[in-house]
């Protein structure tokens, strides 16, 4: 079921060019603030842009960049975690201390600080890359700690001791015995990180500090909730504004199920 939801959302995002009536930034000046209709399934926003089109293209952005950020943090975690765990001693302690330090930081405060450094006139694509880049860089610590614990366990396993006793070189131990066993840990951490980054971007977007206009993302589509004061009076009549929230929650829940979030790691 979770796979079906993820695949359906991914397919909709990939087919955005066919499913959407117009590009995400096309303004229908004669149809500003339209209610849902056959022409505009989710209506138009206050600039006359098709909400359905923006949702599809926003899905594409979020579903491409959240896994990319997750991959970046898992690669960093893999490099530091495997090396620290394999070398042991002071290297292991240094990686563990750095991970603990990073986990102690209030990540959203840090994210705001790093995001605020960006110049005001930065291009949307640059803001997009930097936002997800920062997410990826800040997220290395939790996976690194899990990788470190996994390596420690593998390092002391019987097959490793046997290989070492047979005189297998350190490099071969690392490449042929350690890495293949770390792979499932990395994959699990990758899947766990995706929903975390989707949520982080959504929170940033709703605060107006995520992906900048006119590029759509799930995060900045949620900003419309805040900018519509009449929603507070008649939320049921404006259901179309809540569709991006529903899609986001559905996608995050599906990713959590895929990642087997029963065993949640204390990350952020």
């Amino acid at each position: 079921m979770a796979w079906a939801v993820v695949l359906a959302i991914v397919a909709a995002a990939l087919l955005a060019g066919f499913l959407a009536r117009a590009p995400h930034d096309h303004q229908f000046r004669e149809a500003i603030g339209e209610r849902p209709s056959a022409a505009f399934p989710l209506g138009t926003d206050d600039l006359g842009r098709d909400r359905f089109s923006r949702l599809l293209y926003g899905t594409r952005v979020s579903l491409l960049l959240a896994p990319a950020a997750a991959a970046a943090s898992v690669i960093a975690a893999a490099l530091l975690g495997t090396l620290g765990g394999f070398l042991g001693g002071r290297w292991e302690r240094a990686v563990a201390a750095a991970a603990d330090l990073t986990l102690s930081l209030p990540w959203l405060f840090l994210l705001l600080a790093l995001r605020a450094v960006l110049p005001l006139n930065a291009a949307p694509w640059l803001v997009l890359m930097v936002t997800f880049g920062i997410l990826g860089l800040l997220g290395w610590a939790a996976p690194a700690r899990v990788v470190l614990a996994g390596i420690r366990e593998i390092r002391n396993a019987d097959f490793m001791l046997a290989a070492r006793a047979r005189g297998v070189s350190s490099w071969r131990l690392f490449a042929a015995h350690l890495i293949p066993n770390v792979w499932p840990i990395l994959l699990a951490q990758f899947l766990i990180s995706i929903p975390a980054y989707i949520l982080a971007e959504a929170n940033l977007g709703m605060l107006g500090l995520g992906v900048s206009e006119s590029t759509p993302s799930w995060g900045n589509l949620l900003r419309e909730l805040e900018n519509q004061p009449d929603l507070l009076l008649r939320p049921a009549e404006r259901w179309e504004v809540f569709v991006p929230v529903a899609v986001l929650i559905l996608a995050v829940a599906a990713f959590h199920i895929l990642a087997g979030r029963d065993r949640v790691e204390v990350s952020r």
């Binding site: 405060f109 605020a116 005001l120 709703m206 986001l248 929650i249 995050v252 959590h256 952020r268």
Partner: protein, 285 residues
Amino acid sequence: MASLFARAFLTVLLGAILSGTLVRFAPGFDTDTRQLDVRLSESAIEALKAERQREGELGTYYVRFLSGYVTGDLGESSLLNQPVKRLIAERFAPTFTAVSGGLVMAWIAAAALAVLAHFFGAPARGLLTAASGVFLSIPVAVLAFVFLLHGNGSVQAAALVVGCAVFPKLAQYLHQLFTRARSAPHVMTAHARGLSPAVVFLRHVMAPCLPEIAALAGVSLAFAMSAAIPAEVVLDIPGLGQLAWQAALGRDLNLLVQLTMLITAVVVFANALAEWPSLRRRGAQ
């Protein structure tokens, strides 16, 4: 104990140096808006430029930045034109109420569900997984918006939002801890010897988990502080979270890094307390 706090102090110092670096090398550091005043003469503008250049020299800058923490001078907010120290003092109370209230609620709910899951098996486990799964999938800002839709924009609502954001992480982690501890051989022995389930839980399941629970308490503060930002922004609560957001939008980097440093220091020292040796010994026993 002293080494724990020395480590915490070093961590905060490292954070302060990194924060200072971020401010120093941010775009616009060399710009002084006073230079744009058309009434100033050429020589006055040159003098302002020279003053700014002196302030920006690396050695002078870092000494001034770090000594600010000792003297309590955290600089001025360029956005609000007020001393950062005063802004923090004014905005502290709502955040403290929201974060502490949220943490208390989250811990009570998470501990209750984890204990229920321990004693009542599958149905309670299902409830824990469903409740934590739902809250884990909703962005904090959206949770806050739901409260706003229902006309509740109070500090108590912010506390509830923070609680809802922190709860799933605590519930799942506590559940994991208890599940792991329950399968230990000494717990099975205690059951076999006929000790009551409540005694086994308190003495043999929960007690060994105390160090991890204490560590989780430290980390949960960082979760709560991060959740306070969207909660305060959406519910319009004038706390530190909203202040950080205003600083980010207004590119007031000094205010932002001072706030980050304050929260980091609180979290780091809370983590150091969580590693209190007597607590560790208790867990080991």
